[in-house]
């Protein structure tokens, strides 16, 4: 085979978004020799696109907030399927991580008395999201990046990992190629932290970039790790719907957090009628009450009335919009209207600058004067590698995971803002866990044959110059997933989806590189990503088929109710002898003390508007 270069480390972190950077910083601070690889240039990972904010109960704006309420909201939002320990650690540690970012140079927006400002978001009882206008992710990734580069971490950019290497049961490194030259590279490492993000490129309409092909999910699966909650894919309610080129691009939830109103083509504020019975009482019941909430918040006062219905959780708002459009009350381009134009133009530009520019420049819409058109877009994977809450360890020795590629923290539905905080809380913990593990792990010893096998898979598409176009296969997969494994699911559809995936798996084996060499060849790169996309797509469809109920982000038209049996289990996906196995595994039992904490967080009283 071709020659390859080798690098050695104690801890190899795959992925340089918020989670990977935070993990690498921690691991190297523990004295472990740390390497960090990413597919794009440093600072371009998905985290850079995050807009609305990072959730942490700092209680700077609403003094009543504390970790208990954040814990309660996260579990309630996740429909109690969350790993309770992760939700607990997350709620308790997020404030420290936010202050830590500030100590490392992040500059958050301020309150009137000079503290970190917080804004409202769906599913969060109190104003909880620290933010920088609508470019919070940029602030976070730049802060971590600048901290990281001065810490002696070895950084490898534009390098794609295609396989985890094992020595017996344990992880011993990873194999990949340089995107620029197409040359192979082997990372020998005692421990590996996966921080590769999500899976959005399985779907046609998505807020996610080319990077989100589920690489980490698929590599962990192939290495024998367990994936959980894969049926829960978050469709963000508000993506752009027009013009076609930007379809799916995210419209931050901060628009609703700042008072944005959703209306259908008849001008109805439809969210009032979709509030779930269970927490209807938390929300305003009239236009007047909702408007008063916004007025009070804008005036910097503590609201005396309940939140607007637009701040319901994402799963619910996405389904509501989908239903409105399906029933013929949509906007001209197949979405609904989201309106913030009733607020002073200067305020909108200050609080939502990138939304203002995004719509003005890409859609010819001035959001300070007219409503936006929005519709659901595939956004986030709640499912991922099953990890130990405290250390980020997966079920494979030496393999750790954090950030979007890990599962458990968000259960059946993630609350907005809870991802950025997840990245830093569990990025740090995974970095600690991996560095600690590496202390007593044997020297890495990758197996030459495994490396050769990995290399031959990577070079195979070059042997088929007349093979199928990877772009066509990806497009057909996206169509199948959007049609049959989308927001609303049925058994018949899911089975059809799985049939199509099988056909696509066969086609993917014939994919070829029609043009170009190994030098920076996107067609080749995509050909290699297809395998990962197909694995995660199959996992989503199989788990969705097995969960015969509707809960959180998973809605079955043929099983529209929640089923208490499924409230007690996570679905776990495993590779068993080249077959994908999905099975029920019992939820972790929440300790009595924490149950008490959950129950004690009382629901707010209804307030009538005079």
């Amino acid at each position: 085979m071709d020659k390859y270069e080798t690098h050695e480390s104690d801890v190899l972190v795959i992925g340089a978004g918020g989670a990977g950077l935070r993990a690498a910083i921690e691991s190297s601070a523990q004295g472990a020799r740390t390497a960090l690889v990413c597919k794009s240039l440093l600072g371009k990972a998905h985290t850079v696109m995050a807009e609305g904010g990072i959730a942490a109960a700092l209680a700077n704006v609403d003094a009543e907030d504390d970790w208990r309420v954040h814990f309660h909201d996260t579990m309630a939002g996740g429909k109690m399927l969350n790993n309770w320990r992760m939700a607990e650690l997350h709620a308790k540690e997020a404030p420290d991580r936010v202050y830590e970012l500030e100590r490392w140079g992040a500059v958050f927006d301020r309150t009137g008395d000079g503290k970190i400002l917080q804004r409202a978001f769906g599913g969060h009882r109190y104003k909880r999201l620290s933010h920088v206008g609508d470019r919070t992710g940029l602030e976070m990734i730049r802060t971590l990046q600048d901290k990281g580069v001065h810490q002696g971490i070895d950084i490898y950019m534009e390098c794609t990992i295609t396989r985890l290497l094992k020595d017996g049961d344990r992880i011993t490194g990873a194999f990949g190629y340089w995107r620029e030259s197409g040359r192979y590279v082997v990372f020998k490492s005692k421990a590996v932290v996966l921080a590769t993000g999500g899976i959005g490129k399985s779907y046609k309409i998505t807020s996610n970039s080319w990077e989100y092909t589920g690489d980490g999910h698929a590599m962990a699966y192939e290495a024998g790790a367990e994936l959980i909650d894969m049926e829960f894919v978050q469709f963000h309610p508000t993506g752009m719907v027009w013009p076609p080129g930007v379809r799916g691009l995210l419209v931050t939830e901060a628009v609703r957090g700042e008072g944005g109103i959703l209306r259908n083509s008849k001008g109805e504020r439809f969210m009032f009628k979709y509030l779930p019975e269970a927490n209807k009482k938390d929300f305003a019941e009239s236009d007047e009450e909702a408007r008063r909430w916004v007025d009070e918040v804008l005036a910097g006062k503590k609201p005396t009335v309940r939140r607007p219905p637009e701040l319901s959780t994402r799963d619910n708002v996405a389904r509501s919009i989908y239903t409105e459009v399906k029933e013929g009350r949509g906007s001209p381009h197949g979405g609904v209207f989201l309106d913030i134009s009733y607020q002073p133009a200067e305020r909108v530009k200050k609080k939502l600058p990138s939304m203002y520019h995004q719509f003005l420049e890409l859609a010819d819409v001035d959001i300070t004067k007219e409503p936006m058109e929005v519709g659901p877009t595939c956004h986030y994977s709640m499912g991922g590698v099953r990890v130990d809450a405290d250390s980020g360890a997966s079920t494979v020795p030496g393999l750790f995971a954090c950030g979007e590629v890990s599962g458990g923290m968000h259960g059946g539905n993630r609350l907005g803002g809870n991802s950025l905080s997840d990245l830093v809380v569990f990025g740090r913990r995974a970095g600690l866990g991996a560095a600690d593990y590496a202390k007593s792990a044997p020297s890495p010893r990758p197996d030459g044959r495994e490396i050769e096998e990995a290399a031959s898979i990577v070079s195979a598409p070059f042997d088929r110059p007349d093979g199928e176009s990877p772009y066509d296969i990806q497009r057909d997969l996206q169509t199948a997933m959007s049609e049959f494994v989308g927001i609303f699911r049925t058994e018949a559809d899911l089975e059809e989806g799985l049939r199509r995936i099988e056909t696509l798996k066969a086609r993917a084996k014939t994919v070829g590189v029609a043009e170009g060499t190994r030098l920076y060849n996107p067609g080749w790169h995509l050909a290699l990503d297809l395998k990962n996309l197909l694995i995660v797509s199959e996992a989503i469809a199989r788990a969705a088929l097995l969960r015969k109920e509707s809960r959180g982000a998973h809605s079955r038209l043929d099983h529209p109710k929640t089923d208490s049996h499924f409230g007690k289990v996570n679905l776990a996906v495993r590779n068993v002898g080249e077959r994908m196995e999905v099975r029920e595994t019992p939820l972790l039992e929440m300790p009595a003390e924490l149950k008490k904490v959950y129950d004690e967080v009382e629901t707010p009283k209804a307030v009538k508007v005079p």
Binding site: S40, H46, R110, V132, E180, S209, W242, E361, S469
Partner: protein, 244 residues
């Protein structure tokens, strides 16, 4: 009938290359990056291009469109003259890797030379929004390196080793003006960053997709601070005496 437009895209690598013609089916609101993706999916699967966000947030898709440095994801076809082909070339200041992809690693090396944020040991972490508005302006930078690409000190005079370039003056200024930063980077600014080479042509400011006032708000104040410290001992002394 969908409309069509012709494109001329640079194809080649460090060994050489040429402009190649492509015809693209256009639709409403289409941007240059959409066209490049269409070419990739249907005509040239190996066409190399960087992108991530498609929303002017990541700074990956920088190129020269009809000779002007632009983010391709933000450049609308209907803003470009319809009577001639759209020309897309890689940034010229950086070494070519392939097609529209250039080697921007030099920028990451420069960044490493700048001492990171260093908090004051016991300050109070409270400040007013007005105090950080300007720092936040600088922190909007998405590292598209278009300003680096256009600055004549780098583009024409290749002062790469001695000149950090506008992007890093923005970074230096952001650190300098941070209310809680304690490190001193003025010596570095004066002796290593090459800020003296900048003759305030403002070309960098003009191309910045984030509308950062690079010259007025970052470079000129940095130059003033350097002058204050290194060339004007009287002013410096007075300032010291009457400080707060």
């Amino acid at each position: 009938m969908p409309e069509q437009r012709s494109f001329r895209v640079f194809r080649g690598d460090a060994g050489g290359g040429q402009m190649k013609e492509y015809t693209v089916e256009t639709g409403p609101g289409m941007v240059v990056l959409d066209a490049v993706h269409q070419i990739q999916a249907t005509q040239a699967p190996d066409l190399a291009v960087r992108w991530n966000c498609k929303a002017a947030k990541c700074g990956s898709c920088s190129a020269e469109v009809n000779g002007k440095p632009k983010l391709m994801c933000k450049t609308r076809l209907d803003d470009l003259p319809a009577d001639r082909p759209v020309e897309v070339r890689p940034m010229r200041t950086f070494p070519l890797i392939k097609d529209l992809v250039t080697d921007v690693s030099w920028n990451y090396e420069v960044n490493k030379k700048i001492p990171p944020f260093t908090p004051k040991p016991n300050g109070e972490w409270r400040w007013m929004q007005e105090d950080v508005d300007r720092v936040q302006e600088f922190r909007k930078c998405i590292e598209c390196f278009l300003c680096q690409n256009v600055c004549h000190v780098l583009r024409e005079h290749q002062k790469q080793p001695e000149f950090f370039g506008p992007r890093f003056f923005v970074r230096l200024a952001a650190l300098e003006m941070h209310p809680m930063d304690a490190a001193d980077r003025l010596d570095l600014t004066h002796r290593q960053s090459g800020v003296g080479y900048c003759n305030i042509t403002k070309c960098c400011t003009e191309v910045c997709p984030e509308d950062i006032h690079i010259t007025d708000n970052a470079i000129i104040p940095l130059k003033e601070r350097v002058v204050d410290r290194f060339y004007d001992p009287v002013r410096r002394l007075l300032r010291k005496l009457f400080r707060r």
